[in-house]
């Protein structure tokens, strides 16, 4: 058979696709511009706008507060970076513990179930209060008193319960035939989990896990309630001394700058999975 030479028809087809692509892009741009202008107009023409502009969009205040808020934000990032791996470990262990069927280990399974029930039910901010003020009050040796550390413990407890459920749903979504195939090769329950079920389950739960991470990034601000000088706390200090709320806006901006790349990364992973399935 002869080699492929692009035909007239195909060249024309590609021209049509390109021009349609350009048209799609320009329609998207135009409608976005219209939408943004409309929203801006509605907000700015509201009766309270001058007052809001003064208290939330004061550029001088913004410049003044930004360095402190930014240095506080570095603490948020530290809390996040330490809490996240801990959460993954706790979540995975709890999910595995809930899957144990050996009668002798029933207490472990029951404990794991109890843990997820309790910590998914209690609002994160309450967990932070209870851990932040309760743990040090025990006066036990070895209990940390550093506020950020206590915040990390609280976030780990709270998010660990959510992540455990995400992992468990992933494990349960793997078809029983996979377990049957592995067990019939002589692999133990543990080895089946480790080599067959978990590798597939983990891949499947990456998008919901990343979603939880995005949520965790901003929930590091809740730690402000027990006092460490992170971004929200720094903004509060500035706002309290000037009665201007622009520092909050600065903090919000920093959180957005952190979460948006994560959200796009999640989208990217989801799109890649879709492509691999050939849909």
């Amino acid at each position: 058979m002869s080699e492929w030479v692009k035909s007239e028809r195909q060249a024309e087809r590609e021209r049509i696709r390109r021009s349609r692509g350009r048209r799609t892009a320009s329609i998207a741009t135009a409608s976005t511009v219209v939408f943004v202008v409309l929203v801006a107009w509605i907000v700015m023409s509201s009766p309270g706008w001058p007052r809001v502009e003064e208290t939330f969009f004061d550029f001088g205040q913004f410049r003044e507060a930004l360095p402190d808020v930014l240095s506080g934000f570095l603490l948020n990032i530290r809390i996040f970076l330490i809490a996240e791996p801990l959460i993954l470990v706790v979540g995975l262990l709890v999910a595995l513990a809930r899957g144990i069927r050996t009668p002798a280990f029933f207490p472990i399974r029951a404990l794991a179930t109890l843990y997820t029930d309790i910590f998914r039910g209690v609002p994160t901010i309450l967990v932070i209060y209870l851990v932040g003020f309760g743990l040090p009050a025990l006066n036990l040796q070895g209990i940390p008193t550093d506020l950020a550390t206590l915040g990390i413990i609280a976030l780990t407890l709270s998010y660990g319960a959510y992540v455990a459920e995400v992992f468990r749903s992933g494990i349960e979504s793997i078809h029983p035939s996979q377990v049957a195939a592995a067990r019939s090769l002589g692999l133990s329950h543990g080895k089946t989990m480790r080599f067959v079920v978990l590798p597939q389950a983990t891949r499947r739960v990456v998008p919901p896990l990343l979603n939880d991470f995005v949520s965790l990034q901003k929930d590091t601000a809740l730690v402000a309630t027990i006092g460490p000088l992170e971004a929200l706390r720094q903004a509060q200090i500035h706002a309290a001394s000037t009665f201007n709320y622009t520092p909050y806006l600065a903090a919000a901006l920093l959180f957005i700058l952190l979460t948006i790349p994560m959200a796009r990364f999640t989208d990217h992973l989801a799109a890649r999975t879709r492509r691999r399935r050939g849909a």
Partner: protein, 247 residues
């Protein structure tokens, strides 16, 4: 006029030519079989006709209308085609009746009563009337595939595409599905099918096409292809099929 005409169709996957200039015409009421080894391009050709894949060159016309034009409405084209997959792809959360009536109701705007009446007639005709309220996982593979065929039929397609519809079935279940396809042929349905069932293929096809490496090497009446193939590759393929006992 041909129902379908495929002219010089090319398709590449990652630089590899999966279809290399395919030409094929299908006349009304004609049954065309595509045979060839795995990877010869049979399924890709069906997916191109159904617009599940975009061709990289060449044209496909359905009833004289070019469906490979980028401006064409893909959904409008697919409304006129019925496709049945190797793995059935029934919707597991719906009963048999809902599987069959979904497209007539949602796409073709038929009322529920009318759609269910038509679906019921089809189920009776193909011996599945008692399964209307069953869910797919309560059915055998052969029954599931028959439901999938009925689901495709329910929209009264101009052309049916059957992609290895018996490959996932036990031999004793193959018979019942092949029976349906034979009945479809008798009712005058135009069909393109890919298959490994050579005996059935010879029996039901008006035209058999042998594909090899993305090229349509040989095409002709079923009897001729199976008794005196002209191409050496066709002969080789048929001999290997014969030796594996699939004839």
């Amino acid at each position: 006029m041909s129902v379908l005409s495929i002219d010089g169709v090319w398709k590449f996957f990652g630089g590899h030519g999966v279809l290399r200039g395919i030409d094929l015409d299908v006349q009304p009421h004609e049954v065309v079989s595509l045979i060839g080894a795995s990877g010869s391009g049979k399924s890709t050709l069906l997916r191109c006709v159904n617009l599940l894949e975009t061709v990289d060159d060449g044209t496909i016309h359905l009833d004289g209308e070019e469906i490979t034009d980028p401006r064409v409405n893909v959904d409008d084209v697919r409304k006129r085609l019925g496709i049945v997959f190797q793995a059935f792809n029934l919707f597991p959360h719906m009963t048999v009746l809902d599987n069959v009536t979904l497209a007539p109701r949602q796409v073709h705007r038929v009322t529920r009563g009318e759609a269910e009446e038509q679906a019921h007639d089809l189920l009776v005709r193909f011996g599945l009337a008692d399964k209307a309220r069953a869910y797919p996982d309560q059915l055998s593979g052969g029954q599931q595939q028959r439901v999938a065929i009925i689901r495709a039929l329910a929209t009264q397609p101009r052309l049916m595409l059957l992609d290895e519809v018996t490959s996932a079935l036990d031999p004793e279940l193959v018979i019942e599905v092949l029976g349906i396809i034979r009945e479809l042929k008798e009712s005058g349905m135009t069909m393109i099918l890919t298959t490994h069932e050579m005996g059935f293929c010879r029996d039901i096809s008006d035209t058999v096409c042998f594909l090899d490496g993305g090229v349509l090497l040989e095409k002709g009446p079923a009897d001729k292809i199976f008794t005196e193939p002209e191409n050496a590759r066709t002969r080789e393929f048929l001999r290997s099929v014969l030796e594996s006992g699939r004839f």
